[in-house]
């Protein structure tokens, strides 16, 4: 068998094994909760006979190992049992919520991934210039902010009380772009004559955003002044367009934090790559900088960048929790936090399992993709 296929299968197997062990941990954790489940559901006023009968019905009289397999078996088919608090089937709750969370995560990912890769690439190419240093400070700050901080700032600026918030934000961003553009011109010698295009574009975008601020005061409609909702009221009936608008702020919050990480890691990966001897060899063969990047660096950059993206997407799954709570977004994260507060343990179990499974799956994907893009394994001896 091709070595990639065999390694991938091995990874898959180990990943599933890990998931199994994790499910055992989750189940055991809930098992360790004090008190009696049946009693909790029926409440204090129930008679001992009713409780006993209910226990039998729930299957609580079976030994833990058997219950674990029952639970696992059900989970694999999508049946997580009933919620303690609402008595509804968890799978009902889960299906819409999971869909919502995935929608939010995808929204953030679509915004974040291209921006991170492009910025990371540029920062690596323009290493140690003004451009790079500014980005470094910005991203370092961004990864230091708790999600709720970013979320509330965005709400203040874009949702509540400051209808002009958006163009002001764009204006600020514009100033930053302008500074980058001008700073890069000053650094011209370091970059060489090859990429004056990029600083120019940045400066132009910056100027445009700043101009927009003035337009905003003169003719608000023209400048795109709008307020986003601070609470995401999404229900199955919401149209796609409305969904986008109501999820914009939570998605933006996630994007801002994830982009910073992804960008830093991409930058590091590319810098690492550019220090390789074969890159120097390509230069010594007289290849143009563009060709060196595109033909020599990028094919080898695929593996580390995919790795970076996959790792950060795995993060999105967890970052989603706080963001969903702040914006009251109806996703799995918010469900989990609610259930934890209400001590709705069956739901907590189910949410944990789903999060863990997604997390493990994404890391597994990263592993497998890293293998698949390794030239030594693609073309074995």
């Amino acid at each position: 068998m091709h070595p990639i296929a065999s390694m991938a299968l091995k990874r898959l197997g180990l990943g599933l094994l890990t998931l199994l062990v994790v499910s055992i941990i989750i189940f055991s954790a809930v098992e360790m909760l004090p008190g009696d489940l049946a009693q909790e559901i029926l409440g204090q006023s129930a008679t001992p006979e009713t409780v006993a009968a209910f226990r039998k019905e729930l299957g609580l009289d079976k030994p833990p190992v058997e219950r674990y397999f029952d639970w696992l078996g059900g989970a694999v088919q999508g049946d997580f049992g009933k919620s303690l608090a609402s008595k509804r089937e968890i799978s009902d709750l889960m299906s819409t919520r999971l869909g919502n969370t995935l929608f939010l995560a995808s929204f953030a990912a679509i915004l974040a991934v291209p921006i991170s890769i492009v910025l990371g690439l540029l920062a690596a190419l323009y290493r140690n210039t003004w451009f790079d240093r500014m980005i470094n400070v910005l991203t370092l700050s961004s990864i230091s902010f708790p999600e709720f901080f970013v979320a509330y700032i965005l709400i203040l600026m874009l949702a509540v009380g400051y209808p002009f918030g958006l163009i002001w934000v764009l204006g600020l961003i514009g100033i930053w772009f302008l500074m980058e553009g001008i700073g890069s011109f000053r650094d011209g010698r370091k970059i060489g004559k090859t990429f004056p295009v990029v600083p120019a574009i940045f400066a132009l975008i910056g100027a445009a955003f700043i101009a927009n601020v003035f337009i905003g005061y003169w003719k608000p409609q023209l400048a795109g002044v709008t307020a986003f909702p601070s609470i995401s009221n999404i229900s199955p009936g919401t149209s796609f367009g409305e969904r986008l608008e109501r999820s914009f702020l939570p998605a933006l919050t996630l994007t801002l934090v994830v982009t910073a990480h992804m960008m830093r890691m991409t930058r590091a990966a590319i810098i690492n790559l550019l220090a390789s001897p074969y890159i120097e060899m390509a230069r010594l063969k007289g290849m143009s900088p563009m060709r060196v990047i595109v033909t020599h660096a990028l094919p080898n950059a695929l593996a580390p960048i995919i790795n970076v993206v996959a790792i950060n997407l795995a993060y999105l799954i967890t970052g989603v929790v706080v963001v969903e709570v702040v914006f009251v977004y109806p996703g799995v994260g918010q469900l989990m936090v609610d259930s934890v507060t209400k001590r709705d343990v069956t739901v907590v179990q189910a949410c944990c399992l789903i999060f863990a499974a997604t997390y493990i799956l994404l890391n597994l994907l990263a592993d497998i993709l890293a293998i698949a893009t390794n030239p030594r394994l693609l073309h074995p001896k």
Binding site: S276, E280, M281, A282, L284, K285, G286, P299, P375, K381
Partner: protein, 548 residues
């Protein structure tokens, strides 16, 4: 070779950035190169040879800058020409062959695509013509399967072959000048032969000028018409090869040449019934499921040096690990003064551990950078001999004197403040501190420059005489063996191929592998390589272990 000067470098000054300061690496060197001429640049590490080679292309590595002088290639002043012009030259008229082919080939592209890149991008040939040219050149450089080897990826090809492929790639645009930067340093001595032959052929066939950078004197003697000796970024001496070999003028040059003439003091043979200090009896060893040693047996007697020779993968270092107990053998035993040692070092007594000491190849990793010299040497003194305080300090001073390093200057220093040779001496002192009977020297001079290595060898010889130490000297360098060995053990693929007193080893007849090994060591005769190749072809012997 015409009188036409291809490359003219005058007063070239290059600085390198360390920390916040610019320190000079090249301090004003003149260099002339004619068309078709091969110039050898030799010097010890840090002399600036690579930097000069790259400067010939108008290229400096990151953290370096050209701070003065002129570099004129075929009439064009490189320091004033723009980057675009310089780029047009590189790969097309000046090519570079790096030290490590494995690292210099892009792992994501086939060899042939990397070959044709330069000609196509510089508009010398179109892709098809370039691919045919590649096959032709691979054939000329005697690569196996020249028609299909180009379609492999770098990791699918062996080291020596890759080096030749890189040479081929350098020739793809038929450049006027090729810079060879230590192309055979990382290769085994038997593989080296092939690559040297290939390079010399190619250069001669195409009439290319070349700058051959190396620290190996014998190699440069084979390849170059003229030699320049560099030291600390300055030119020491320059002369045609034969002149420089026979009559060097500068003291430094003379000392480089004289290195190989040092011979250890002769010793009487041991008595026939003398119990050897260390003895291996039929040792088999394996790393997990992979067998590494097969039936290895040899003896080391008191006061004598046994050189264990072999190429990479021969098992010589593994034999050392078995002796020290780091790798318990799967069968066979190790005896010390006639007594069987416990196979695992953890089961040995402190005294048993004390008797056998080891000196390592890389001084950087052999000494703890966060410990002062007096602690590095003092710890074994305290641990084994139980000396503390004053007595310990006294002993440390004695040891430093023994290795010819001034105690007051060095005792309080850290390894980072010492040079490579000094660090190696500290390694020796650390071994001596245990008052052992037997020392394993694991490639202790391989990472050092010639002069420094000679100093270490002299020191070891003297100590052996004074302290009656037995040495197991592991090396791949036959010149060192010739210098210091009393007995020689030749290993290949984990087996002892031949062993005996040195004199016997260096006179024929030999085992065929020993023959190959011995004859592959470059000599200081400029005709050596030519003669060797002729002889091997005549007698139908393999050219290298890769083809053997």
């Amino acid at each position: 070779m015409s009188d036409d000067i291809l490359l003219k470098m005058r007063g070239v000054k290059i600085d390198g950035k360390t920390g916040d300061d610019w320190l000079p690496i090249i301090k004003g060197i003149d260099l002339d190169l004619r068309r078709g001429e091969v110039l050898g640049l030799i010097g010890e590490s840090g002399a600036g040879k690579s930097t000069m080679g790259l400067a010939a292309m108008g290229y400096v590595r990151g953290g370096c800058r050209i701070s003065g002088g002129s570099i004129e290639f075929d009439g064009m002043e490189l320091t004033k020409a723009g980057e675009a012009k310089r780029r047009a030259l590189r790969g097309k008229r000046i090519a570079y062959v790096a030290q490590s082919a494995a690292a210099s080939f892009n792992p994501a592209h086939r060899l042939i695509d990397q070959y044709s890149e330069a000609p196509v991008q510089h508009s010398v040939m179109d892709k098809n013509a370039a691919q045919e040219d590649a096959t032709d050149l691979y054939r000329r450089l005697q690569l196996p399967n020249p028609d299909e080897i180009g379609f492999r990826y770098p990791h699918q090809v062996s080291g020596g072959q890759l080096q030749r492929a890189m040479t081929a790639m350098a020739m793809s645009c038929r450049p006027d000048l090729i810079i060879f930067d230590e192309p055979t340093t990382a290769l085994d001595v038997t593989t080296q032969i092939e690559v040297l032959a290939a390079i010399r052929n190619a250069v001669a066939q195409f009439g290319t000028a070349a700058i051959y950078i190396t620290h190996d004197l014998a190699v440069v003697a084979q390849m170059a018409d003229r030699i320049m000796v560099l030291r600390y970024g300055e030119l020491v001496e320059e002369a045609p090869t034969r002149t420089m070999l026979s009559a060097p003028t500068q003291d430094y040059t003379k000392s480089l040449w004289a290195v190989r003439s040092f011979k250890a003091t002769a010793k009487p043979k041991p008595a026939a019934d003398a119990v050897p200090v260390v003895s291996l009896r039929n040792v088999d060893a394996a790393y997990g499921p992979v067998p590494v040693l097969h039936g290895v047996s040899f003896d080391i007697h008191k006061g004598r040096t046994v050189a264990v020779v072999g190429e990479s993968g021969s098992g010589k270092s593994t034999a050392a690990r078995v002796i020290t107990g780091l790798l318990p053998p799967s069968s066979g035993e190790v005896l010390f003064n006639g007594q069987v040692l416990p196979p695992n070092f953890k089961r040995r007594s402190k005294d048993q551990l004390r008797q056998a000491q080891m000196i390592y190849q890389m001084a950087d990793t052999a000494l703890n950078p966060k410990q002062r010299i007096r602690d590095i040497i003092g710890r074994p003194v305290e641990f084994y001999l139980g000396l503390k305080g004053r007595a310990r300090d006294e002993r440390v001073r004695e040891l430093l004197d023994l290795i010819e390093m001034e105690p007051d200057t060095f005792a309080h220093r850290y390894p980072g403040e010492l040079s490579g040779g000094q660090k190696q001496r500290i390694g020796i002192a650390r071994a001596l501190a245990a008052d052992p009977e037997f020392i394993i020297c694991d490639e202790v001079t391989s990472a050092l420059d010639q002069l420094v290595a000679e100093g270490i060898l002299r020191l070891l010889d003297r100590l052996q005489g004074e302290l009656d130490l037995a040495y197991m000297f592991i090396t791949h360098d036959l010149a060192t063996v010739r210098t210091i060995a009393d007995e020689v053990v030749v290993m290949q693929h984990g087996k002892v191929v031949e062993q005996g007193p040195k004199v016997e080893m260096f006179t024929p007849p030999h085992h065929s592998y020993t023959d190959l090994l011995l004859s592959s060591v470059p000599e200081m005769d400029p005709d050596w390589l030519t003669n060797l190749l002729d002889e091997r072809i005549r007698e139908g012997k393999p050219l290298s272990t890769e083809d053997a």
